[in-house]
């Protein structure tokens, strides 16, 4: 009952079913026995050999014994978990039990959640099954319980990650073989890296992971990137799996967009923390130099992905229209993330703008401290280089907006998000090649460079930071943006698709019009 309340009735049902179906079988019992026997044998052989031949201290023996135990455990995890995760969704589809599940009112998200908890339940059982073997370490004086619990935690986190990726593969490929191959491609390199690192750097020293972290502390920047990265992979995989299992008419884009916003904020924050404003005396303009450059590269690349959002399907998904029609409070709260119409472009532009906002904010922080901390500094030179910096940022920003507007235009024409993004970026690649070729062959005037702002910026940077930026480049990007948005609105009107309002035509009567020609 408590579990049911915590996990939600439907997810709890899936967990219960998964555990019964997986553990009750005879072959499951055989796997458990073989697993325990392998772990036990390896540890026993090592214990005997160490007791008879080695001159190392008992504490080192104990730690190495635990190390061997966990290496065998990790191999088992990388065999069992990918398999269980890869078949998690495909078995439901192949056994034709998916329709009754959905028909019972379960949502894809609940099923994915239940599947993950079911796999983790089996993993928990498998990890603890041979735990009594750790008592062998008492032959050598024993190992700290805290160190063992930490090892278990790391294994559990690694297995959770593999399970999430496996469920994503299962949901996206809908084929057991392909899903197993995909997860194996992720799990095997992870296993090789982990075993190599643990055996050569940790266990061979006669210490466990917790001791290793205490003796060789890792920089905080590593954790600042690793923890959000891990959470992104876990949460993103589960949301991706739900996304693949929900129909295109579902509200699946809303959590994806919310997660994307969080990711953008975290990544921009991490970049700024790592290479951002340096307020130390003598380090007055890092945003104009290194930090700004890193951020420029990030925003330059992010537009490729953001075009996917801008060019999404123009129609409002049915589920979103249903939520909006009911006037639920979440329909106001989540309006920023609702796909369809002009919101596709605006959402991408907001993410795009976050990067520039952060960069400008950091520059202002630097500027407000530089004058007092470094009075001898020539502020006119600083202002001049800052002007160039802002001109570059302006060129980059307006160019990005024009790419997003182009992707949005293609979305209104009826292309899906990926095709629209490819077309919008393809046009930019084509223009860049055209400009670069024209410049190399000296075929056209310099004004041709305005067609491709990124190429223009690269050439200007090569010429020196003091080069004046042509305002026409910004104007060309703004003109292209205006043209694309106007064209998109006209096409949307022609196709009967609302640009701003969150509705679907005919919802009050019939669902859609009868197809023409019938």
């Amino acid at each position: 009952m408590i579990g049911s309340n915590l996990l939600g009735g439907s997810s709890y049902a899936i967990i219960q079913k998964e555990l019964i179906v997986r553990i009750r079988r005879i072959r499951s019992l055989i796997i458990q026995l073989v697993f325990a026997a392998v772990v036990g044998s390896v540890m026993w052989i090592y214990s005997i050999s160490e007791l008879t031949g080695s001159r190392a201290s008992p504490e080192v023996h104990a730690a190495q014994l635990v190390g061997i135990y966990f290496i065998v455990q990790m191999c088992a995890i990388c065999l069992v978990i990918p398999l269980l995760a890869a078949i998690s969704i495909t078995t439901e589809l192949q056994a034709k039990t998916w329709d009754p599940l959905i028909g019972s009112g379960m949502r894809p998200g609940q099923i994915v959640k239940g599947k993950l908890y079911g796999i983790l339940g089996i993993l928990f059982y498998l990890l603890l099954l041979p735990a009594p073997l750790l008592s062998l370490t008492t032959l050598f004086g024993g190992v700290s319980v805290l160190s063992i619990l930490f090892e278990y935690l790391i294994h559990f986190l690694a297995a959770t990650l593999i399970a999430c990726i496996g469920i994503l593969s299962s949901a996206s490929t809908r084929s057991t073989v392909r899903a197993i191959l995909q997860v194996a491609l992720c799990a095997v390199p992870l296993l090789i890296i982990a075993i190599t690192f643990l055996s050569s750097e940790v266990y061979s020293q006669g210490i466990l992971l917790l001791d290793y972290l205490e003796t060789s502390p890792i920089d905080w920047q590593f954790w600042a990137w690793a923890i959000p990265g891990y959470l992104f992979l876990v949460v993103g995989s589960l949301m991706g799996a739900t996304h693949f299992l929900s129909g295109v008419e579902s509200a699946r884009d809303v959590p994806i967009r919310a997660l994307s916003l969080i990711i953008f904020l975290v990544v921009v924050g991490l970049i700024l923390i790592t290479v951002g404003p340096d307020l130390q005396p003598g380090h007055y303009n890092s945003m104009i130099r290194d930090g700004g450059r890193v951020m420029s590269v990030f925003v330059g690349l992010s537009v490729l992905g953001l075009a996917r959002f801008a060019g999404s399907e123009a129609r409002v998904p049915l589920r979103i229209a249903q939520i909006r029609q009911r006037g639920h409070w979440t329909s106001w709260l989540g309006i920023v993330f609702f796909p369809g119409g002009i919101r596709n472009f605006l959402f991408a532009a907001v993410l795009w703008g976050i990067c520039f906002g952060a960069t400008v904010g950091c520059w202002l922080m630097e500027y407000s401290t530089t004058g007092t901390i470094v009075p001898q500094y020539d502020s006119s030179l600083y202002l001049e280089s800052s002007t160039i910096f802002f001109q570059m940022q302006g060129v980059l920003f307006t160019w990005g907006i024009s790419v997003l507007a182009t992707a949005w235009f293609f979305g209104q024409c009826g292309f899906n998000g990926i095709i629209s993004a490819v077309l919008a970026n393809g046009i930019q690649v084509g223009l860049a090649m055209l400009v670069a070729t024209a410049r190399e062959l000296s075929l056209w005037s310099e004004k041709v460079e305005w067609l491709s702002p990124p190429v223009y910026l690269i050439y200007r940077s090569a010429e020196g930071a003091g080069a004046e930026m042509a305002s026409e480049v910004v104007l060309v990007s703004l003109a292209l943006s205006t043209l694309m948005i106007t064209g998109g609105v006209l096409i949307a009107r022609r196709r009967g698709i609302p640009v701003w309002s969150i509705r679907r035509s005919g919802m009050d009567k019939l669902y859609l019009k009868i197809p023409e020609g019938n």
């Binding site: 049902a13 079913k17 019964i20 079988r25 329709d99 028909g103 049915l318 669902y511 009868i514 197809p515």
Partner: protein
């Protein structure tokens, strides 16, 4: 349950296109409450597509469908609460017992823990699965699996059951048992909407039928309405006389509405073109001439004949 609505299923101009192929081309019909309705058609006619749309598992290209007033497109959760859906293939979980299978779906339907046991015992009693509760699902016969699947669809006490080819693959005994189960459900006030291509199975239990072909509804209504629609105008009667009588032909030929009189020994047959309520004239004429007869049989058009009359056999 929305008792104020006379129809539990309302379908209007339902279209479903897969590329250039229209699986459904604008079908419309209503199904009243408390009936067993047969949805029949050849393979590829659009039966399963219609059923999946009604079960809110597929979104139509156009048109609308309502289950007890809930729109299958705009209110899918409400629709799923109001109906029980049994697909054409019964998928089961290897390793679960019958009891565990039902408990799983009771939780999936989000029945409160206090109601689960009673709901399961009710459906087990109805479907006669009581002796199999501890048996693993995958060892059940096909007929028992069908019963189990039906039990699962009844757990949340829906007013409407939508069954896709429930009798396919069942042996004759299982079919008869399943048929009586459906009749019992009708007695309990449930509406049953079932598709099948085994027409002889539907004839005895269906109150009404819809016949679809190539995505079009070619007939819809009660069995009687459909018979009347395709009837050529004449009904054939067969009469078994007590003894052969050559005068019978002359007697009947004087009655308006009688034609194609055929006498073979004691077997008399004739076509009747007038309303059935006027047939008493024939019996009165025979009685007045002291022509005794032991048996009268009115030739009914069974569902198979109706189906053959209404469909062309073309596949999309």
């Amino acid at each position: 349950m929305n008792e104020s609505r006379p129809s539990i299923i309302e379908v209007r101009d339902l279209w479903m296109s897969f590329g250039k192929n229209d699986a459904l081309a604008g079908i419309s019909f209503d199904i009243p409450r408390g009936v067993i309705h047969g949805f029949i058609g050849p393979n590829g006619a659009g039966k399963t597509t219609t059923i999946r749309i009604l079960a809110a598992l597929q979104i139509p290209t156009a048109g609308g469908a309502w289950i007890d007033g809930a729109n299958v497109v705009t209110e899918p959760e409400e629709v799923r609460r109001r109906l029980g859906y049994m697909p054409d293939y019964v998928g089961v979980y290897e390793g679960l017992s019958v009891m565990e299978y039902l408990e799983f779906f009771a939780m999936a339907h989000q029945l409160p823990a206090s109601r689960r046991r009673s709901a399961i015992s009710d459906v087990v009693e109805l479907t006669d699965l009581g002796k199999l509760l501890e048996v693993e699902v995958h060892v059940l016969s096909k007929g028992m699996k069908q019963r189990l699947c039906l039990a699962q669809t009844l757990l949340h006490e829906p007013d409407l059951l939508i069954l896709d080819e429930p009798a396919s693959g069942l042996d004759p005994r299982a079919r008869i048992e399943f048929r009586s189960l459906l009749t019992e459900l009708r007695r309990l006030g449930k509406t049953v909407f079932l598709s099948s291509h085994i027409l002889s199975e539907l004839s005895p239990i269906c109150d009404s039928v819809s016949i679809v072909e190539k995505g079009h509804l070619v007939a819809h209504g009660s069995m009687e309405q459909i018979r009347n629609r395709i009837r050529s105008g004449d009904v054939q009667y067969e009469v078994t006389l007590v003894e052969a009588n050559e005068d019978v032909e002359a007697i009947l030929s004087q009655i308006p509405g009688v034609s194609r009189i055929l006498l073979e020994g004691r077997k008399l047959s004739f076509d009747w073109s007038e309303d059935d309520s006027e047939i008493h004239q024939v019996w009165a004429a025979l009685a007045s001439r002291k022509v005794a007869f032991t048996r009268v049989r009115r030739h009914e058009d069974d569902l198979e004949n109706l189906f053959m009359s209404l469909t062309t056999g073309e596949v999309q």
